[in-house]
């Protein structure tokens, strides 16, 4: 019963961060800002989802594998986002700038 409440709480927090990442992907104005939203919010959502699964699985080999997956994704997710961002910068994709209100 207590485990169910903990799982529900962790899943709600995870879905909040996944939702923030999805909102950033839809709403942000250019590639770099979208990347900023995805790389951090999605990593946190992933960690909370895996925490909920660890609470549900108990102490077993599955938990060890889940922890390994969490460590791997915690390193791999920012690495791949960084590689994509560096590629965009080297190709010369210009960052988004807010236009001045009266550019005359």
């Amino acid at each position: 019963m207590i485990a169910d409440i903990a799982i529900a709480g962790l899943l709600v927090v995870a879905m909040f961060f996944h939702g923030v990442a999805a909102l950033g992907v839809v709403r942000m104005p250019d590639f770099y800002t979208r990347m900023h939203a995805v790389s951090k919010a999605e990593t946190l959502g992933m960690l909370f989802t895996l925490a909920a699964l660890v609470v549900s699985a108990g102490l077993s080999l599955v938990t060890v594998k889940l922890v390994f997956l969490a460590i791997f994704l915690f390193l791999a997710n920012p690495t791949s986002t960084h590689a994509i961002g560096r590629a965009a910068l080297r190709v010369g994709l210009p960052p988004w700038r807010r236009l001045p209100p009266e550019n005359a």
Partner: protein, 91 residues
């Protein structure tokens, strides 16, 4: 509410969020937007696979599948980022 139904609700919510990444993958103005959508799609699908494993009660099997999927997704994202860094041409 028991644990499998909680995971089912979370999986349905995550499926709705995956559609956002598919949208970015389809309409992304630049190729890097599409790559970012693909990378996010990979992570979300890994989570979705684990949640469905918890729903079916076979997490021991699905965790291996999601480990392999996460590795492939990471290697694919980094390799295609290196490819498009050179402007998308072979040397």
């Amino acid at each position: 509410m028991s644990a499998p139904s909680l995971f089912l609700v979370a999986a349905v919510a995550l499926l709705a969020l995956v559609m956002v990444y598919v949208h970015r993958l389809a309409v992304g103005p630049t190729v890097f937007d599409r790559l970012l959508g693909l990378s996010g799609f990979g992570t979300q699908t890994t989570m979705l696979l684990l949640l469905m494993g918890a729903v079916y009660g076979r997490l021991d099997m699905f965790v291996d599948l999601s480990l392999a999927y996460a590795l492939l997704s990471f290697v694919g994202a980094v390799a295609s980022a290196r490819y498009f860094e050179r402007g998308g041409q072979d040397r």
